[in-house]
């Protein structure tokens, strides 16, 4: 086991002529749920996409499991055990639910134990496994996206705003699911919903304008109203 599973050192990312990340430094220890909070446009999604190699870091270094993955191909990063659940869920709507899951396996063959676990966590996935994924509701698609991320054992799961557009009942159910998933893997969660983030996170980093404005234990932030007030300008309470 490494001390830090993931480390970002002064990462800068440009998209076209725009400088989005201005030097993000972040340390994610192995295990638990780690939350990246920030308002719209702060650089949360760009941070996840840069880690995943979907956008290239212009400067800085990304170290995963003591290996420099800066500039690595997305597929190679995924093969190291990094799963990505994008904000739009990335579901293949023309494929069946089962085909979506099968694509996430390295060989095309399921480990039945893990498939059953995914079914147990998300019973709707079992129920609609032969349906086209495009016919699922928004909540069911989110479940499928997360089930796809855990259908094989991963070292790190990057999840981008999983609560967006979901009903409070589904969000409450997701808290339990994420807690169970975090027992075997590390989750880096991007969120705007502070209540959801507070109930899950072990640690938190707040990003604003492409820089980390604060990082530390979630419990400290939750207990420090002064700190929360200072960070209110970063729109943390918008959904809280």
């Amino acid at each position: 086991m490494t001390e830090h599973l993931l480390r970002l050192d002064d990462v800068r990312t440009d998209i076209g002529h725009y400088h989005i990340l201005h030097g993000v430094s972040l340390v994610i220890p192995e295990g638990g749920v780690h939350v990246l909070l920030g308002r719209n446009g702060a650089g949360k999604t760009t941070t996840l996409r840069t880690i995943m190699g979907l956008w290239r870091a212009a400067r800085g270094a990304i170290i995963f499991d003591n290996r420099d993955i800066t500039g690595s191909h997305t597929a190679d990063i995924a093969r190291l055990g990094v799963a990505y659940v994008p904000e739009n869920m990335g579901i293949f709507s023309t494929l069946t639910v089962l085909e979506n899951l099968r694509l996430a396996t390295a060989t095309g063959a399921f480990n039945n134990e893990r498939l059953d676990r995914a079914y147990d966590l998300f019973p709707a996935i079992r129920q609609f496994r032969d349906k086209r994924a495009g016919t699922l509701s928004g909540g069911q698609k989110q479940m499928l996206a997360i089930a796809r991320a855990i259908i094989e054992r991963r070292r790190l799961i990057l999840i981008d705003e999983p609560t967006k557009g979901l009903s409070p009942a589904i969000i409450r159910a997701m808290i339990g699911v994420f807690r169970e998933i975090a027992l075997e893997t590390t989750i880096l969660l991007v969120e705007q919903n502070f209540l959801f983030a507070r109930s899950l996170g072990d640690s938190v980093a707040v990003i604003d304008d492409g820089r980390i404005a604060h990082s530390g234990a979630m419990a400290s932030l939750a207990a420090d109203s002064g700190l929360q007030t200072r960070l209110l300008s970063l729109s943390l309470d918008a959904h809280g």
């Binding site: 995943m52 979907l54 191909h73 997305t74 597929a75 995924a78 093969r79 799963a83 990505y84 994008p86 739009n88 990335g90 579901i91 293949f92 709507s93 023309t94 494929l95 085909e99 099968r102 694509l103 996430a104 390295a106 095309g108 019973p123 709707a124 129920q127 609609f128 349906k131 086209r132 495009g134 016919t135 699922l136 509701s137 909540g139 069911q140 796809r148 009942a169 589904i170 159910a173």
Partner: protein, 336 residues
């Protein structure tokens, strides 16, 4: 927590409105307009044969666009080379093409088609590596570079085969017609339809029953997510490009036997039809390409008989009508 999804299965009246029925509906409408069953059968078989040959050329182009957003105007170079290579093989093996040697005649045909497809496969690999790869993500440069490659390819055809039209000896076994009463059907057209169907079934099974097919279907919908799941889509793409180029060359070989006289500008003439089929069918969809190709083939033949003056414009009019009805084509691939 689980909401019931909308059903996959369509009610019968919606299923009847499915675009899959369009070629059959067109054929029925033409039957009413033509009147004579014998003429209708001849025109319909000719239209289906033409459609199947265009399908061979168009399906690969559609998948290439769907998977990598690559606009390849050089696609028809494979058609031209396929036609000339097949013509050359058939001419060289003319001695096998006699009434006394039906078996050798079939072998000559298979060798001609195989040589064209093999050329498409190898040339497709070269074309993707040298011409396409440097211009990924840049449509304007793709158009310029691939049109340039098409011009160079046409010049190469003139270097190897000269500028004059070349006659194509049709294999004896595919010459002549089957006659049923008043109805006469060219054997070559039946062969074109059967070959097209075999290729379509092969592509359908390959895309729906294999892991690579699953990756291609997923890649057409959301390339980025396939990579995030750990698969190199660029390596998948080169395979699809090679198969698409081989199919184009195969289509060219079939077209050569159909026309029996071919010129170096064959590819650029067919390119318009191929693009119309890809647009009508919906980019990235093999099924859409098949429906589009059959509609183009049938329309071309029916209109040429019923309203000869409109024949040249008929496919353009068809495309306009389809795009007014469905701006993304009949069966566009979903994009994530």
């Amino acid at each position: 927590m689980a909401e019931a999804p909308t059903s996959d299965s369509l009610p019968w009246y919606r299923a009847l409105a499915n675009v899959n029925w369009l070629p059959a509906a067109l054929a029925l409408a033409a039957f009413a307009a033509i009147g004579s069953p014998a003429t209708w059968v001849t025109l319909t078989v000719a239209g289906l044969a033409m459609g199947m040959m265009i399908f061979l050329m168009a399906s690969g182009l559609s998948l290439v666009f769907g998977l990598m957003d690559v606009l390849n105007f050089g696609h028809s170079a494979f058609v031209t080379f396929g036609a000339f290579i097949a013509a050359t093989v058939l001419a060289r093996l003319a001695g096998w093409n006699t009434a006394d040697t039906p078996f050798l005649s079939v072998v000559a045909l298979l060798l001609a088609i195989g040589a064209a497809a093999l050329f498409g496969l190898v040339a497709g690999w070269f074309f993707e590596r040298v011409i396409i790869r440097p211009v990924y993500q840049d449509h304007l440069r793709q158009i310029l570079v691939t049109i340039g490659a098409l011009i160079v390819a046409q010049e190469l055809v003139m270097v190897f085969w000269g500028g004059s039209p070349v006659s194509v000896p049709r294999p004896l076994i595919l010459s002549g017609s089957l006659v049923f009463g008043d109805i006469s059907i060219e054997i070559y057209r039946i062969f074109a339809v059967i070959l097209g169907l075999i290729v379509y079934v092969g592509m359908h099974l390959g895309l729906n029953r294999t892991r690579i097919g699953l990756l291609v279907r997923a890649g057409v919908e959301n390339r980025e997510m396939v990579e995030a799941l750990g698969f190199r889509i660029d390596r998948l793409f080169i395979g699809v490009f090679m198969v698409g180029s081989a199919l184009a060359a195969l289509g060219g070989a079939m077209w050569a036997g159909y026309e029996t006289l071919i010129a170096p500008d064959l590819g650029s003439e067919v390119l318009v039809l191929v693009f119309i089929v890809v647009i009508i069918g919906g980019l990235g969809s093999v099924e859409g390409s098949l429906i589009g190709a059959l509609l183009v083939g049938l329309t071309n033949n029916y209109v040429a008989f019923l309203m000869p003056k409109l024949a040249l414009a008929s496919t353009m009019i068809l495309m306009v009508l389809v795009l007014i009805w469905r701006p993304l084509g009949l069966k566009p691939a979903a994009k994530g």
